[in-house]
């Protein structure tokens, strides 16, 4: 995969490098923070009425538990990342 990435023109690669450094904080983490409340509300409403009677409902319940779990971990994750800088 890395071999193919060398075929990208230098101009684009320079732009992508600049985007990458801003994306880590302004993109990935900020998207998570912005959608935090929405995901928490939807996740807790799903956990309030967990259902495992069909494949879709089972997957939805499991994803909700995972997402709520990740959201609860996020503050600690940010603490950890800010210490590592």
């Amino acid at each position: 995969m890395v071999k193919y990435s060398r075929n990208i023109p230098k101009l684009f690669r320079r732009a992508f490098r600049k985007l990458r450094s801003s994306y880590e904080w302004s993109g990935l983490l900020r998207t998570w923070i912005a959608s935090y409340m929405d995901l928490c509300i939807c996740g807790f409403v799903q956990i309030y009425s967990l259902k495992f009677d069909s494949a879709t409902r089972t997957i939805s319940s499991i994803i909700a538990i995972i997402v709520v779990g990740l959201n609860l971990i996020l503050p600690y994750l940010q603490e950890f990342t800010s210490k590592s800088i």
Partner: protein
């Protein structure tokens, strides 16, 4: 025969004149257009790598306004209409990627607490948070693409 007391709540009926409805609808339309323009300006700002701090603030503000609908208070019709505009902060204008995989997703809907169902939410996580998951996946895809295209920081 035993005498029993029953408690039930009745929804308040608000009377609005035609003129008031017209004013509300105009305000609704103008706010909707403004919000759409503001939200559509988000993508180029994000992709150009410019500082998107203002956009995130706008998004947070929209979400805060929309979540006022979840407070256990019966709002008048015009307030509901107004707060409903801010559903854009929840990316509800985007398609739900889960419905591409399972087209009968709506049939799987679970009974939702009253206040949440009033705010167009469902207990089924994939149905109510599918749009947010799409944003997550897109952001992750772009991030992985940037990591792949330039493996070293700099």
């Amino acid at each position: 025969m035993d005498k029993k007391d029953y408690l039930s709540s009745l929804e308040t009926l608000f009377y609005l004149t035609e003129q008031q409805v017209a004013v509300i609808e105009t305000t609704d339309r103008i706010t909707r257009i403004t919000s759409t323009v503001a939200m559509s300006s988000m993508a180029p700002i994000l992709l150009s790598g410019a500082n998107p701090a203002l956009i995130w603030c706008l998004l947070n503000l929209m979400q805060i306004f929309y979540y006022l609908l979840l407070i256990n208070v019966e709002y008048p019709w015009n307030v509901k209409q107004f707060l409903g505009i801010f559903s854009m902060g929840r990316f509800q204008f985007l398609p739900n990627p889960v419905s591409w995989i399972t087209p009968k997703l709506e049939e799987e809907a679970i009974e939702t607490p009253y206040r949440f169902s009033q705010a167009d939410m469902n207990s089924l996580f994939l149905l109510s948070a599918g749009e947010t998951l799409l944003i997550w996946l897109l952001t992750l895809f772009f991030f992985l693409f940037f990591i792949w295209s330039c493996p070293t920081h700099g």
